[in-house]
């Protein structure tokens, strides 16, 4: 892939902090679209508000940076009005699962043909580190100074339950797997969610003993358990190590979709 084919060179460098995982996710996404041979003129990136949502501003396609939580509704309008365009959305855990939760489940239910890449860093980074619907129990944020006491959304499970055609979860460590998953999402008609667990050293890490980026990426690597392995352990009645999260492809199916050219 030629870097200049997809990036808005005059917008670089990005606003992201040193050590942020978002750049990795953008790179993986652009590798995937480039591998598929998509043309930038026929591709639209959409986003809401937050660190993740700044991504389309660095990509030279047509791009719509919208309001907090509403990216999927804007993207639905674009895709239904111009089904021949490729539509992908960058979002984050706060944007997608808190303020945008209703649009999320309904976009999955409609199975609108779009690929949604969620940079889940367990925190509101742009506003300085408040708790989100994916903040782990006990984690310290500026709005949970004594440790989060709330439950956590499993975004991938939510998307599967709500009807999405393709759902996968990887991390900023698993760049090859992530790139392949995004590619599969882009190729699969209907709604695809790619959840990417990614590090935020500035707002999350420094308050939760994950200040060092290399250590955090190591954490993502060592605490990820492949879905198949997890299922095997559970099937065999064996214990699953604590603090592990599943990665892999949760679903790929062929439910009826919206927004595909006739």
């Amino acid at each position: 892939m030629s870097f200049r084919d997809w990036y808005r060179i005059d917008r670089l460098p990005t606003i992201y902090c040193v050590g942020c995982g978002n750049g990795t996710v953008i790179n993986c996404t652009l590798h995937a679209v480039d591998t598929l041979g998509w043309k930038w003129e026929e591709t639209v990136f959409v986003s809401g508000i937050g660190c993740s949502s700044r991504a389309p501003g660095y990509i030279r396609t047509d791009s719509l940076h919208t309001t907090h939580g509403r990216a999927l509704a804007f993207a639905t309008g674009i895709k239904l009005a111009r089904p021949d365009l490729h539509v992908a959305v960058f979002t984050g855990d706060g944007d997608l699962a808190a303020i945008g939760g209703n649009h999320f489940i309904h976009a999955c239910r409609r199975n609108v043909d779009m690929t949604v890449i969620c940079m889940n860093n367990w925190i509101y980074g742009m506003t300085g580190g408040q708790g989100s619907p994916t903040t782990p129990r006990g984690a310290i944020t500026t709005t949970t100074p004594y440790g989060s006491g709330e439950g956590v959304f499993d975004l991938s499970a939510l998307a599967v339950a709500a009807g999405a055609n393709h759902v996968a979860r990887w991390t900023s460590y698993h760049v090859k797997e992530l790139t392949r998953a995004i590619q599969t999402g882009l190729e699969t008609p209907g709604f695809s969610l790619i959840e990417v667990l990614t590090q935020c050293p500035t707002a999350y890490g420094r308050r939760n003993k994950l200040r060092d980026v290399a250590e955090t990426v190591e954490y993502l690597k060592t605490h990820a358990i492949l879905l198949q392995k997890y299922n095997r352990l559970v099937g065999e009645g064996k214990p699953v190590p604590e603090d592990m999260f599943t990665v892999g492809e949760f679903v790929r199916r062929n439910r009826p979709v919206m927004g595909v050219p006739p």
Binding site: D62, H65, I78
Partner: protein
């Protein structure tokens, strides 16, 4: 035909090919008629999960170049406010129909009101300008919907059809012309910066999927469309232009009807109360009573007030507590007398006659 259906027919005649909405009384017939008709004209109808999503989908569709519309009423209108500001900031043409009902809150779902006249002008945060029209008949539901699309496309600004339950549910004869004027959206000249103002302070439109590679953001942006949110001068320049492109075109946008310009007592009306004013003028043919009917309400055409050089008082019947009367007061030394009516019923001719006599 019913007013709401006439509105939908007007939208179709004006080339609307995308409608996103959410059911809400008393506007639902607009959506229902679009659901029936749009698929037959290769258009798109979608019922979204709420009004926030409805206006969002409309704006998204508009960026592909489609003429797009939604329709709602009070509670849904309130929910749309944030994205209406987004449409103003990103200069996205779109038509928002508000079939007003009694508020605040759930209020009177089945009865008319004009309580959203200031909300449509000032409802989203920050400074901006919009265009709003107000129909007083089924025929005007059709005509002013067509006009709303043309103004919205021309000025790249969210445009409101501020109707009410009475006009929306009224049934009258409608004449649909063989064709209507359709003002196309002016395209961006290739090689021009996407938010560089052209004629009338309005940039050409770089639709998605046409190779412009445009970045659109609700952040304060420069002429490239790139964020410039911490640049005070960029913000002032942008916001001043967003306001100026509408306000400096007030005379072109204005649409009003003048009756008896030599009168000393003048009714000013828009929407449903216009009907009662007609009745009063009809009942009192020997008295010289003036009437100014505003078909475009925002930007407010203050020069229309000087169409009545002998006016001693302006009587303003509104189905609210004087929202537009307050605006009129700013522009004239002639006493402006609000004639408010709440509760959902139209002013009676007697009530307006009393107001006329009370002002003597």
């Amino acid at each position: 035909m019913q007013g709401n259906t006439a509105c939908a027919e007007g939208a179709l005649a004006a080339g609307c090919r995308f409608f996103a909405g959410y059911p809400i009384t008393p506007s639902t017939e607009v959506a229902e008629h679009m659901a029936l008709k749009l698929p037959k004209t290769k258009g798109v109808f979608i019922q979204m999960e709420d009004e926030l999503a409805s206006i969002a989908a409309v704006i998204g569709a508009s960026w592909t170049g489609a003429r797009a519309m939604t329709a709602t009423s009070g509670p849904g209108f309130s929910l749309m406010m944030e994205n209406i500001g987004y449409a103003a900031m990103t200069e996205t043409p779109c038509v928002i129909v508000d079939i007003q009902r009694g508020g605040p809150s759930t209020g009177q779902p089945t009865l008319g009101a004009q309580g959203d006249m200031l909300q449509c002008r000032f409802g989203s945060h920050g400074d901006y300008s919009i265009i709003a029209l107000s129909p007083a008949s089924v025929q005007e539901m059709f005509e002013l919907t067509v006009k709303a699309f043309n103004l919205s496309e021309r000025y790249r600004v969210p445009t409101f059809l501020m109707a009410d339950e009475i006009i929306g549910h009224m049934r009258e004869r409608l004449t649909i012309p063989d064709s209507v004027e359709v003002v196309p959206r002016k395209k961006l000249d290739p090689g021009t910066l996407p938010f560089k103002p052209g004629e009338g302070d309005i940039p050409g439109f770089p639709a998605f999927g046409e190779g412009y590679g445009v970045h659109v953001t609700g952040l304060t942006h420069d002429e490239r469309g790139y964020p410039a949110a911490t640049n005070p001068r960029a913000h002032e320049k942008l916001v001043m232009r967003l306001v100026r492109k509408v306000e400096s075109a007030r005379r072109e946008i204005a649409d009003y009807r003048v009756t008896n310009p030599d009168a000393e007592k003048v009714f000013i009306s828009y929407g449903a109360p216009t009907r009662t004013v007609y009745q009063v003028l009809h009942d009192r043919p020997k008295e010289e009573i003036g009437h100014l009917q505003l078909r475009v309400v925002w930007p407010f055409p203050e020069f229309a007030l000087s169409e009545f050089p002998d006016a001693k008082s302006f009587l303003v019947p509104e189905m609210n507590l004087g929202q537009m009367a307050r605006e009129m007061e700013r522009h004239t030394d002639v006493p402006v007398i609000p004639v408010p009516k709440l509760g959902g019923e139209l002013h009676t001719p007697d009530e307006l006659a009393k107001a006329l006599e009370g002002s003597r």
